[in-house]
Assembly symmetry: C2
Homo-oligomer: 220 residues x 2
DNA sequence: ACCTGAACACCGTTCAAGT
DNA sequence: ACCTGAACACCGTTCAAGT
């Protein structure tokens, strides 16, 4: 790895990978991923867009480095509960909390199942808890994926909802649709009516997770 | 609604909302949402970008119209199973299949919980099945959301994975991370090893959904 | 080895004007 | 009422050159 070696020739670097990642992290925290552009980042650092490409392959690699940085600095529950079901719930909740603070990670990196090095901790302990609860290794991997899907979907849905609620004054498309529901065609939705928005604004991650664990792991 | 009225004055329209949505749908089907641009769409129709803005407020509204169009033309399982659990599984699977064909919908519209008019059918029947299985109305809405999170997460994760597998030759970041796992730190993941990629490539939506239903709905 | 300026090939959207 | 051309304010990335 060249960045770890001591360079003996050539021009001394003016900016570093660490500085790039650190500044990117600050921008994302302050203004959201949408505002993270190579041009803006370079401006912030006091350099040019092209200088960045000398330290980072492309924007995607930068986001991956960012994920690793964030996951590495996130607090991890310790000690973990001895009971496997409780352990799974605790670790999944920690993963959820980490992601809730930076939902863009899910949008950007779903393909890698949160597989940055620093994020392996979560996968390891969820798979381990599933095995401890009596599942085979392959079943445990499937259980992990199910928990991941649920978590990713929750993060992405509530993040987008919150963003819209915050910036948009006009009623959402959903509100308009709900206002015009035909009770004959959709009786259940009509009976929920205006309460839908209020009901779906609550955070029910924990309850859903427990239901998932009940269905996924054999009875203790 | 102005589009339904018969116009008696002014210049006759050369392009229509229906033509815009239809062409957009074809572009998305053939080349993916990433290739759907207002400029490209106008070119395809043989018009100018600005003509589109006369029929559609902005790109987001266009995507919403597209979702409605697609949901309206999707096949719906009929008749539905009488057993509530089976009914929930059947409807959720139909929703999943619809989305699997156009994963961009999830990425774009998660905030509205698939709340286009034509998509209400799925919500209605999932909530109804949950009530029929013994849940209260509010609990049933929560159950619907849990199923939605799981479904959205599955679609988004596998869609992105598939896209990368298709276009990218070099090993994924995940593969590189897995190759360097420390068995002392992460014994479970190390013992899964190279099988991870193979295991996570399988479609386990159905199994996960059944586990979710087991945990969500009271025993029959 | 590291950084720069200029350019390429794009975006969504607004403005002012034409028919 | 509907459409147009030109422009604004951006993107990520490549290329060729400078130090």
């Amino acid at each position: 790895m060249p960045t770890a070696e001591r360079r003996t020739t050539g021009r001394p670097p003016r900016i570093s990978r660490a500085e790039i990642v650190g500044t990117a992290r600050r921008i994302v925290a302050e203004q959201g991923v949408g505002k993270l552009t190579m041009r803006g980042l370079a401006r912030e650092i006091g350099s040019t867009p092209m200088a960045l490409y000398h330290h980072v392959r492309d924007k995607e690699e930068l986001l991956l480095l960012l994920l690793d940085d964030i996951a590495a600095s996130a607090p991890r529950p310790d000690p973990l509960p001895a009971d496997p079901r409780e352990r799974l719930v605790t670790v999944a909740t920690a993963m959820h909390d980490l992601l809730a603070g930076c939902p863009w990670i899910v949008e950007v990196l779903t393909a890698d199942d949160l597989m940055a090095e620093a994020a392996l901790w979560y996968s390891e302990h969820i798979v381990d808890a599933a095995v401890a609860a009596g599942l085979g290794l392959e079943e445990a991997v499937d259980a992990y994926r199910t928990v991941w899907y649920y978590t990713a979907g929750q993060i992405i849905t509530t993040a987008t909802s919150a963003r819209r609620r915050a910036q948009d004054e006009r009623p959402t498309y959903r509100d308009r649709v709900f206002a015009g529901i035909d009770p004959a065609a959709y009786p259940r939705l009509a009976s929920v009516g205006a309460r839908w928005t209020e009901l779906t604004a609550r955070d029910t991650y924990a309850e859903g997770l427990r239901a998932l664990v009940r269905g996924l792991l054999p009875e203790g």
